[in-house]
Subunit: 581 residues, 2 copies
């Protein structure tokens, strides 16, 4: 077997098995050492390739696409710092459980740690942030080694998806010459119809006896509360709302729970909790007997205070497979079971919770109505940050994706996204909550073909401006709403705000740059509304356009701080009237 035949068949079998295992997309960053992978991916008829130069953006693009599709996405880069640029997205994928398959090309062993150019130590370079690492063998095309290549491809896909999804890393040593020969007969291996290996993953489910016992324990308590934090299972909404209505339990639904809006029943959903749980007296008035949480901790800091003050309530955290996500440190019972099965099993237990203490549910609903009345009321004319987000949630199209930036953006969406029947896929990078890679993540979601609206702040926009190249290059369909308060708006809400000597330099950090120039460079259309109705028109117009539309709303950090505080105070005051009675 020649070197080139070894190389070609080995990689072709590997790539073909990825496709057979369900991989549909690969993000390739240019380089020489990765030539065998890059060319073979591009040659494969069933895999779509996206070429993105900046590897940091490339990995976040893959992350967004994987989040949107719930399918693993492969990343291909050359040796050297290229692979190090994947790190931020790998970390985020680990924390937020997104299936990514990083395929890094490497120098062969004889060129490692000998001062050869572009050779760095890539073995386990993502540390504990990947679910698995494997150093691939040098290409060989014996039957045994082609099977090995297929099995490793299939395992990579399975490992990325199984249990809690996450990133995996395969490192490929390649000797020169690097160019495959695609004229070889049976390039993609024997015409196998089926994948070489398959996995059949059972779901965790608790025994009936336990479920019945638990249902009885809960039925004996008056005040139950379901909390749905960020999670990706599209089927949870139906299951958990059904149980909540059957039991008469309110659901605090984080915007990223995929439960706040949709075609399921949203009658028990309390979406305004972040506004009214800011008040200590209101929190004290709403003491639950038990809390069952699905998904990660909600975004709301007010909810965090609420949980901390309710240490004596019975508390349950549901995890589909594994993991520990309970930052408060309360006594807690952990339910490791598929959340959808867990809900339907509890429902089938047929024991109606006596939290048919109707007052409990009614109180939450009343407080929520008061909050919503204030939140929905338009602050006529002036285009504050909250107002911009309100307008956006009004006009964002049904069945579209709403990608939300971190920092103020996700908090404003938490405040202003009202429960409703609009089917929205809400996505955000809430694993590590970074302000990096947000544009690329949104564009990755758009690469699935679904229309995407991306909301983010100016610092996030700046951090990943390179990501915009993909929008231009692939003419991706995206509306980006940038809230530009010229710096780190969220810091105005923290104690650092009161330290004038250091604040602007270390925290405010105004950029003072004109994004319009960058947007034009990337062929996007640029809009700068000055009031609410203009914003609305521009958003609606953008949904009729193809390609990149960027709408920039310029706001003032201090005005924003006061606007939010006034709104929260008004809500608290109205609700406190009921509490004091």
């Amino acid at each position: 077997m020649s070197h080139t035949e070894d190389l070609t068949r080995y990689i072709a079998n590997f790539v073909d098995e990825l496709a057979k295992s369900g991989l549909t997309d690969v993000i390739i960053s240019p380089g020489s050492r990765s030539t065998p992978l890059a060319m073979t991916f591009r040659e494969h008829p069933e895999i779509k390739e996206w070429v993105i130069l900046d590897e940091r953006s490339a990995a976040f693009f893959g992350l967004g696409l994987a989040k949107q599709t719930n399918r693993p996405v492969a990343l291909v880069c050359s040796s050297g710092t290229a692979a190090a640029n994947y790190y931020p997205a790998i970390v985020e994928a680990h924390e937020s459980r997104v299936p990514l398959i990083a395929l890094t090309a490497d120098r062969p062993h004889e060129l490692r740690d000998v001062g050869a150019p572009q050779a760095i130590d890539q073995i386990k370079m993502y540390g504990s942030y990947v679910k698995s690492f494997h150093e691939m063998a040098l290409p060989k095309s014996t039957a045994e080694m082609l099977n090995y290549a297929r099995i490793r491809a299939a395992r990579a896909v399975h490992e990325a998806l199984s249990g809690n999804p996450g990133p995996v890393h395969l490192n490929f040593p390649f000797q020169e010459p690097l160019i495959p020969d695609f004229t070889l007969k049976d390039l993609w291996g024997e015409p196998i119809r089926e994948p070489y290996t398959r996995w059949h993953d059972g779901k965790r489910r608790l025994p009936e006896s336990f479920i019945n016992q638990l249902a009885e324990r809960l039925a004996s308590l008056q005040k139950g509360l379901f909390v749905c934090g960020p999670q990706m299972d599209q089927d949870l909404a139906e299951a958990v709302t059904l149980l909540a209505e059957n039991w008469g339990v309110p659901i605090l639904a984080d915007p990223l729970s995929l439960i706040r809006t949709g075609s399921h029943s949203t009658g028990n959903i309390i979406e305004g909790y972040d506004s009214f749980l800011r008040n200590e007296k209101i929190r004290a008035y709403l003491k639950p007997d038990y809390i069952i949480r699905f998904g990660a901790m909600p975004v709301s800091k007010a909810y965090l205070f609420f949980v901390k003050e309710n240490q004596t309530a019975l508390q349950f955290v549901v995890e589909q497979d594994a993991g520990y996500r309970e930052p408060v440190g309360n006594p807690t019972e952990y339910i490791y079971a598929d959340p959808v099965l867990f809900c339907s099993d509890l429902l089938e237990a047929g024991i109606i919770s006596s939290s048919s203490d109707n007052d409990w549910l009614t109180t939450w609903k009343n407080f929520n109505s008061i909050a919503k009345k204030h939140l929905v009321k338009a602050s006529v004319g002036s285009l504050t940050e909250g107002e911009a987000v309100k307008q956006l949630t009004d006009v964002i199209p049904n069945k579209s994706t709403f990608y939300v930036g971190n920092s103020m953006s996700i908090r404003d969406v938490d405040t202003f996204l009202m429960a409703g029947s609009k089917k929205l896929t809400l996505l955000a990078n809430r694993g590590a909550n970074g302000i990096d890679g947000i544009i690329s993540s949104g564009l990755g979601a758009a690469a699935s073909g679904n229309p995407v609206t991306l909301l983010l702040g100016d610092l996030s926009f700046f951090h990943d401006m390179n990501g915009l190249l993909a929008a231009k290059h692939y003419n991706l369909n995206i509306t980006i709403l940038v809230i530009n308060n010229n710096g780190g708006g969220i810091f105005s809400f923290l104690p650092q705000f009161h330290h004038e000597k250091h604040f602007e330099v270390l925290f405010g950090t105004p950029l003072n740059i004109d994004f319009q120039k960058a947007i034009e460079m990337y062929g996007g259309s640029y809009h700068n509304p000055t009031d609410s109705s203009e914003l609305k028109e521009m958003l609606l117009a953008s949904y009729q356009e193809q390609g990149l539309s960027v709408i920039e709303v310029k706001t003032d950090r201090t005005e924003n701080l006061h606007w939010h505080k006034e709104l929260w105070t008004a809500i608290e005051e109205d609700i406190l009237k009921l509490v004091v009675q």
Copy 2:
């Protein structure tokens, strides 16, 4: 002791000891968890802070500043993916031996791995790329813990600098509240004049008996060759050129050896070797008896072929402290000794090498003269890539810094930078040879106050465009020459070039964007010369200006390929006339 006093004194003592140990600059990326470090650094009277939002750029900025000053530079960031963005520059610092001190703020232990926001596993997150990692204790202000903080600061500086310099990593757990109290008495500790700890590092030196023996062995051989690869010791030039002239040995000097140009004698320097060693016959004609290499492997691929074909020559690699940088795999003797001492010791041995075979030196000099004649000759009018680099090397100011991008840029500088008396500090990121972070690296060098010219290609320019914000924010003095061949020009020199189906998409990767818009966004002046004399004028004008000047030379990848090949062929043909005789 209150929490705030513990926090304040602990960090103040830490930062003060960094300053006492010689740290002068810190690069801070905004965040909340890092508040104690950020505010204290800014408060310290002897440390200058640079605030850079994008942590990837921030770390490369620190790298460039550290390279320029040969002093360690500290990096401060918040918890989460912020720290992961440092990875590319940390890898580069490791490979190219640059002292960086990464100070990452972290959530305290009770908030780790419990699903708390922005908490990722930062323990040893840079793997084997840092010389040392230490998880700092929680802040306490007992005498013992303040001493500990001081010692850890001093150790970090020493570890970053000692032996082969490189990055170190300290991780700081911080509990809230995070704001120090700078009104405390004796904030910076007892008025200690001296550093709390000091290190006195001896240099490696070989015994006289060994030196004499070696000098005798070499003296018995006819054809010696010194090779100086990339290295950072400003004193080597004097020592190695003195020895070379005394022994009559030619020196092949990489542009990054800091030996090609300067006030030392450059009589024996052969700078054109990359051009004429491309030819196999010429290589065969120039077989050396021994090679002594200082620094890393030179950039030149032609030299690599030359070494590979001279396995039987006696070969020495000199390392100041440790490391293994011999990618060819030849039988080699490793000299672990300070290179300057090694040269002066050999000189003092007083044994004149009989490579007073004058023909040997003369032949190299003659070949070099022929190459130079072609290289210096202006290709009148048309502004090719090589021509642009030639113009730049002509007009770049004495005593300035020349930061060179990877890929084609460093190769063109290798080709066209002629030996001379101009004192230039040549810098490049040749550890991992990435195209990332180059703008920030150049700006970091400029932050030292030295005027900087940065040469790079369009892909590198794009990759780190975010870096330009620092130029605007701090009004840094830099001239950037971008060679824009709209894509990956270097790939045209590789076999991939002949695979039309995949070439442009996977390797050519044209950006098709107009950099002028970005440059204007960052307040730079933009210039676009169309011929050599215009370029020269614009370069000269830029050296009279303050701030950011960007000169973009638009070229064609294919034309560039042919231009280089024609030049090399002309040189080979002329030299071969002498070889055949």
